[in-house]
């Protein structure tokens, strides 16, 4: 095969891989249905690695826009998820009743995913979710977690906050990747640059995990390139859209792309909601049971953690975490 025909095959394969995602936004999923249907924007060309992809975009943006405190786009305030095309990467329509798309994942990852999807189809639920153990949502689950979010942009850094954990991503603007700890982490290392009002990011050094309990697992080579842009549509629709291409040489046959969205959570602001430090370790009673499924410890059972009970110092007055009602639950059955 000549170089030209090989290039043509790669381009056709790339185009075919991206065609379905252009038409399969999921209204109703994770806040979907807000504004016009979401459409995936595929990368400008096929890239072998996320580094190559990010460097190409950086070069196209001529090194990026240097924003100041007064010019950097302001996205502060509360946000909610507003849909995504996430499942379309791996499942044929119509979503939860569809079938696993063959050939998107490598054989071992596809086999593992088919078992997970079998549970979803046959039991109506996947048996277990790692968040049950209070593991962080991590990335990329961060992009679709249905808790409130905040996005704070400064000229040299952006902070992206999810109200569970809480999870905080930091985007280092105009910098190179660093990994001084010599390991991978739940949110990895994210660098970025501004291309006008678009924030382009590159994330790597992530822990192997699963997107969600309905999604495939990913490896420790999972990486991404994202483009964040605040878009405005008729009827006062304001939507923060995140076009993402995921790379994983162990899990994906070729890179996959999706779009995730957020809308301003005006109703939450009106209700007086403020992002809290909701930690899971001392208040969560969901556990993995002897059959590998999820269960919950109830009051009085061994190991039950009283989310509103007394702290480590019960001998002192005023140690309840339920100051308004000061309620108590039955003691432990040992």
């Amino acid at each position: 095969m000549s170089l030209n025909s090989r290039r043509r095959v790669v381009l056709i394969a790339f185009a075919l891989a991206n065609v379905p995602s252009l038409s399969s936004a999921q209204p109703g999923a994770f806040g979907g249905g807000f504004g016009p249907p979401l459409q995936v924007v595929a990368p400008p060309k096929a890239f072998a690695t996320s580094d190559e992809h990010y460097k190409f975009l950086l070069s196209q943006a001529k090194g990026g826009t240097k924003h100041t405190l007064t010019s950097v786009p302001r996205w502060d305030g509360l946000w909610n998820t507003a849909g995504n095309t996430h499942m379309s990467m791996f499942i044929d329509p119509p979503g939860f009743t569809g079938k696993v798309k063959p050939g998107v994942l490598t054989p071992p990852y596809e086999k593992a995913y088919r078992e997970r999807w079998r549970q979803q189809q046959e039991l109506g639920e996947v048996q277990y979710d790692r968040l049950t153990h209070c593991e962080p949502p991590g990335y990329p689950r961060f992009l679709l977690e249905p808790y409130s979010h905040e996005f704070l942009n400064l000229p040299d850094q952006s902070y992206q906050i999810n109200d569970f954990g809480p999870s905080i991503r930091r985007v280092y603007i105009g910098q190179e990747h660093k990994n001084v700890f010599g390991t991978h982490s739940w949110y990895g290392d994210t660098i970025g640059f501004w291309d006008g009002n678009k924030l382009v990011t590159h994330t790597k050094y992530l822990l192997p995990a699963d997107f969600t309990r309905w999604s495939p697992m990913t490896s420790n080579q999972f990486e991404s390139v994202e483009t964040w842009e605040l878009k405005r549509y008729p009827n006062d629709v304001e939507r923060l859209e995140v076009q993402v291409t995921f790379y994983d040489r162990h899990a994906f046959v070729q890179p996959v792309s999706a779009v995730y969205a957020f809308r301003r959570a005006k109703e939450l602001e009106a209700a007086g909601h403020r992002v809290q430090h909701w930690e899971c370790e001392t208040s969560n009673n969901d556990v993995i049971d002897s059959k590998g499924g999820t269960s919950s410890r109830l009051p009085g059972e061994p190991g039950f953690k009283d989310p509103r009970g007394t702290t480590l110092f019960p001998e002192l007055p005023g140690q309840s975490r339920d100051p308004i009602y000061n309620t108590t639950l039955p003691a432990k059955k040992e």
């Binding site: 806040g31 048996q127 277990y128 049950t132 249905p146 569970f164 999820t294 269960s295 109830l298 989310p307």
Partner: protein, 157 residues
């Protein structure tokens, strides 16, 4: 309580909008979603917490004793959009709830809808049971007829 009345007109829309986000923290495979039951009891505590809220209620048994039941609802960011706050269920309130029971028979379940002492219905459900307007409307005649289980209510006469 005033908040609940104020937001009632938007509850139907809000619950429809938020139903799809009730799929977050853990699998709901532990709940038997093939049956919906109803329990009336006295609120012991409303744990309005992330990642899930829990309603703890004392429910009377046929022999007159009480059992503490636990019902799992959605997280505050979702519930606030449905007009439910940390004071919607106050200790001592008598409320009626629908729930999908724990499959292992312990006294708990996934919370569906809740009927407050003043008769107002709210939807605190997560993915463990159905608390939507549709479920509430389905249950209204069943409650009036005295049913406490969807299985009983749907049994051919």
């Amino acid at each position: 309580m005033k908040t609940v009345f104020r937001v009632l007109p938007v509850l139907a829309v809000a619950s429809l909008l938020t139903a799809s986000v009730a799929v977050a923290h853990h699998s709901f495979a532990m709940f038997d979603k093939s049956v919906e039951k109803v329990a009336t009891g006295t609120v012991v505590r409303w744990e309005f917490n992330v990642p899930h809220s829990w309603l703890r209620m004392n429910v009377k048994n046929p022999d007159g004793t009480e059992t503490l039941w636990s019902f799992e609802g959605s997280a505050p960011p979702s519930l606030l959009q449905r007009g439910i706050t940390g004071s919607t269920f106050e200790p001592g309130n008598v409320v009626t709830v629908s729930y999908c029971p724990l499959k292992d028979g312990r006294p708990g379940g996934g919370l569906g809808w809740a009927r407050l002492a003043n008769g107002t219905f709210v939807n605190p459900a997560d993915g463990g049971c159905d608390g939507s307007v549709k479920a509430i409307e389905k249950w209204k005649p069943w409650l009036a007829a005295g049913y406490t289980s969807s299985t009983e209510a749907q049994k051919p006469k």
